[in-house]
Amino acid sequence: MSLIYSLYVINKSGGLIFSRDFEGASRLDLNDSLRLASIWHSLHAIAGQLSPAHGCGGIELLSAESFDLHCFTSPTGTKFLLLVEPQCPQVPALLGRIYELYADFVLKNPFYEVEQVIKCELFDQAVDTAVRRYPLMLLSQPAGQGQMLAAGLS
């Protein structure tokens, strides 16, 4: 079973503008989430500068024993973080889907102020649906990739 724990969205100045937990209650209170979001924002920037590779865009994946943190940065500077169970496949695809939902349900809402906290019920619902369908997304992945992942897991 592949579990998605939480989603965070960080604006381009490092402020947390959205957070949502999918597996039960949050383990963090809001202040901690805010603080960690800006720490991640800075770490991401520092990693981009430290990297010996030219044109490094920062950290994409942090693997820990009990979770994986996937980070997607849009070319406009907004960061989408997903905390998932270790070894979850296809998380970048899910992040791409969430970016689309953000473009649709957040930015197209005329009463949403750009860069401010996201309070859009339609976006909440759409994200919940996308996360609920994530296991189905795994079933429809190309066979070759599935085998590779299965081999990696065994």
């Binding site: 070319p75 791409g96 689309e100 750009v114």
Partner: protein
């Protein structure tokens, strides 16, 4: 660079869009009574659209980062215009240092049914919204540009021509200052 296939977006009747835009322009003229101010408002409205629309474009077209202004201009003309307006724009007339170019449109859905009255032909930039959209969208990916119509079929020119001028290409979004 070969154009990529366009993502499937929900389609709407173009007329409702054209007519809505027309009534907005009429209303602005009625409210402000000053064509300069109307042009400014249209540009500002476009800018506000552009800063939001760019994320939709990036999310749905799955484009990565553009390495140069030249590439970005091609993407605007060849991908973004077809995706949102269903017309492609040709990118031509580059200046030698690659900081200015023209987007040439043979067709402009904003102006499908429009005939400008004589008193507006001089000043009104009827489709000025588009310039604002481009300016807003490129600003979000760290390119400050000037965009303005230099040819307009509504004013008797052969084509629609938007002139783009790159003012500054900021390397990174982070407000890093190296003080030493």
């Amino acid at each position: 660079m070969p154009p990529r296939p366009l993502p499937q977006l929900e389609q709407i009747n173009a007329e409702i869009f054209t007519l809505t835009y027309g009534s907005i322009v009429r209303q602005l003229i009625a409210d402000f009574e000053d064509l300069d101010e109307v042009n400014k408002q249209l540009d500002q409205m476009g800018y506000n659209i552009g800063v939001r629309l760019v994320d939709e474009f990036l999310a749905k077209s799955k484009m990565g980062r553009c390495s140069s202004f030249r590439e970005a201009a091609e993407v605007v003309g060849r991908q973004a215009f077809p995706m949102f307006l269903n017309v492609a724009a040709n990118v031509t007339n580059w200046n030698t240092d690659g900081t200015e170019c023209s987007l040439i449109l043979a067709d402009n859905p904003l102006a499908d049914f429009v005939e400008l009255p004589e008193e507006y032909k001089g000043e009104l930039r009827y489709s000025g919204l588009l310039c604002g959209v481009i300016r807003g969208a490129l600003e979000m990916v760290n390119m400050d540009v000037d965009a303005r119509f230099v040819q307009d079929m509504l004013r008797g020119d052969e084509v629609y021509e938007i002139r783009l001028r790159l003012k500054e290409h900021r390397a990174e979004a982070f407000p890093f200052k190296d003080d030493d």
